[in-house]
Symmetry: C2
């Protein structure tokens, strides 16, 4: 499949993991488990020739074709010609896939033989020739580590029927970067923590997570900024623990953070209810009326509305609509939907228009 065709298809819908439902969905946006695998007998990506990289894609393509869980998956290579006038930025198409959480920042920025596999309403996807030959992920709505782990374990087993993984009985799965050796697994949970941010409790939250060997990052993983009060909590160690132990530890830490956030929300409701309502309602008013809006402001306003929905202060909205806007208002989404590359001011205008269309009164009755 051509990447443009895939994107056309994706533009018409939204990942099922963004449904806004599932356990603890008032605080947890989504759960993700990814596994890093490499094909035995082929050099790691950074040492492989173009030919060997193509070989990775073909081997994986065959394996995907034989995997029952991945039946009907879209596979496409990311050979996207760069615009001549725009050598600095990755092509819009790769930026789009990044916004969609289907590829990593590294993969978006990089030319070269790479491909993605997308399946099950974007809840299962695979990057080929990222840092490792195969990086597969399963995304679930809400807090569902156990279930997500079981799903990706199934996909992994099925691919392993066709592909022999680079594996050492002593170290486990071998990966391009030593930090992933062993299970090759990262379990991460995307948490919405507006009360922790407002109460300035994020530093202590980071400390506690680090003590349990968990990392806390922004929405788009390593090196990304925190926007809209969203935090990704994930395990750091991949070695010396079984997959089940990693899931268990991450689960425990996330449960602690959820309970902290719930308690802080309760305190705010008790002591500062009016101030909280004010923030939520102003965000609603701004989103429904602004004519220009940057991505960062949009995320912050949506964060307040999301909190408002959870606290029953903005009952007209659904978390599904908020999630949809969060994704569709990103720069590449805006431009690909509009059918062309546009400058920042016009993007801000299109973003504000989209917010009004999705959250405004008229559209509400049809869309939400």
């Amino acid at each position: 499949m051509e990447v443009k065709e895939l994107i056309g298809h994706l533009l018409g819908g939204l990942g099922s993991w963004l449904a806004g439902d599932g356990p603890e969905s008032g605080i947890v946006l989504s759960t993700r488990v990814r596994l890093a695998r490499n094909i035995a007998g082929l050099p790691f990506w950074h040492r492989a020739t173009r030919e060997q990289r193509r070989n990775v894609i073909e081997t994986a393509r065959a394996a995907v074709g034989r995997s029952p869980s991945l039946g009907g998956a879209s596979i496409c290579t990311l050979e996207i010609p760069r615009e001549v006038e725009d050598k600095e930025r990755p092509p819009l198409e790769r930026q789009f896939l990044l916004e969609r959480h289907l590829i990593s920042r590294e993969m978006a920025a990089r030319d070269g033989e790479s491909a993605i596999v997308v399946h099950s309403g974007e809840s299962v996807s695979i990057m080929l020739n990222e840092e490792d030959h195969i990086r597969m992920q399963v995304l679930g709505s809400g807090f569902c580590l156990e279930d997500t782990w079981r799903r990706i374990d199934g996909v992994d087993d099925e691919l392993n029927q066709t592909v022999e993984y680079a594996f050492s009985p002593r170290w486990g799965y071998l990966t391009a970067c030593p930090t992933n050796v062993g299970t090759g697994m990262r379990a991460s949970v995307m948490l919405h923590l507006p009360a922790q941010v407002t109460a300035k409790r994020v530093p202590s939250l980071l400390q506690n997570a680090a003590r349990s060997n968990c990392a806390v990052r922004g929405m788009y993983g390593e090196g990304s900024n925190v926007v809209g009060d969203f935090f990704q909590v994930s395990n750091q160690a991949t070695l010396g623990q079984s997959e089940e132990e990693i899931i268990e530890t991450t689960d425990r830490i996330v449960r602690d953070i959820i309970s902290e956030e719930m308690q802080t929300r309760e305190e705010m409701l008790k002591h500062n209810r009016r101030q909280l309502e004010d923030r939520v309602c102003r965000a609603v008013g701004t989103l429904e009326n602004a004519r220009l809006m940057g991505t960062e402001e949009l995320m912050q306003q949506l964060s307040w509305v999301r909190l408002g929905v959870c606290l029953r202060m903005a009952p007209r909205y659904s978390i599904a609509t908020i999630n949809r806007l969060m994704i569709e208002a990103q720069p590449a989404h805006i431009q690909l939907r509009g059918g062309r590359t546009v400058g920042p001011l016009e993007r801000d205008a299109m973003r504000a228009d989209l917010a009004r269309a999705l959250l405004g009164k008229k559209e509400m009755q049809q869309d939400v």
Copy 2:
């Protein structure tokens, strides 16, 4: 009449000068002419005994009673007992009259024998025992210096039938402060200049006005801050010019400022239409949704909405409604309407509620 009775009466309506109509009402809120007069044979207020001050009030009361233009005017003294616990602030009632532009800041702050006369939907009023024995003003909606001058001239003549004014053939009307000697007149125009503020052209505007011997001040006159982009332009000299000359000079200077503002608005529309719409629409969204709002923010948001109405970007509102909110959302209005003294947070809540009630969708159909 008791001051509480007068206030109860005023609370039910709004000064006719706030109708939002009249010439140049897109830029000019209102026009005001005041005359300072003193009663011959009585010492100036600051040197008068209590008995003599009472004499001023009684003499003026008799004159008002015989003035055909002031028939049915309310007269009341401002002897308002201060709350024991609140020695620092003027009583709410005097604060209310100040917000209403019926008394000056000095008079609001001061105990002692003083009184006011209110007539014609608040468009004619007189302070007794302010700095001078008699300070009469006429307020008109929009830009109407000539008409306002003619009205106050009539009132002045009628009072003069009964009261002999302190007058010197050489100096003209004698006043407590030398800056008012001569005509005792101040003509002032309240201008809404959001484009000048946005384009940072206020300093040059101030310079030009000063060169023509005009002062530019905030909404509540001398010493008051500029809020909501409202500026009061008034003549400085009262001596050496006839009343007609003062009116003419002020008229010319104000016309220049109006044309500057119109030109800047045109430029903004031409080059930054979307940014302008964004500011206007965000202000609408904030006013219709906020749950807490300070006076200063309210004035700033209303300033954008007012500009939006003039530029047909916020067609659902009328300037009359904006004016009403500007007055009724002031702290003493909020509290007297609520029937009690309340702290700043509760005032901010009541103010936001009032804004929603006046500008919100449901109330729109009934009120505007």
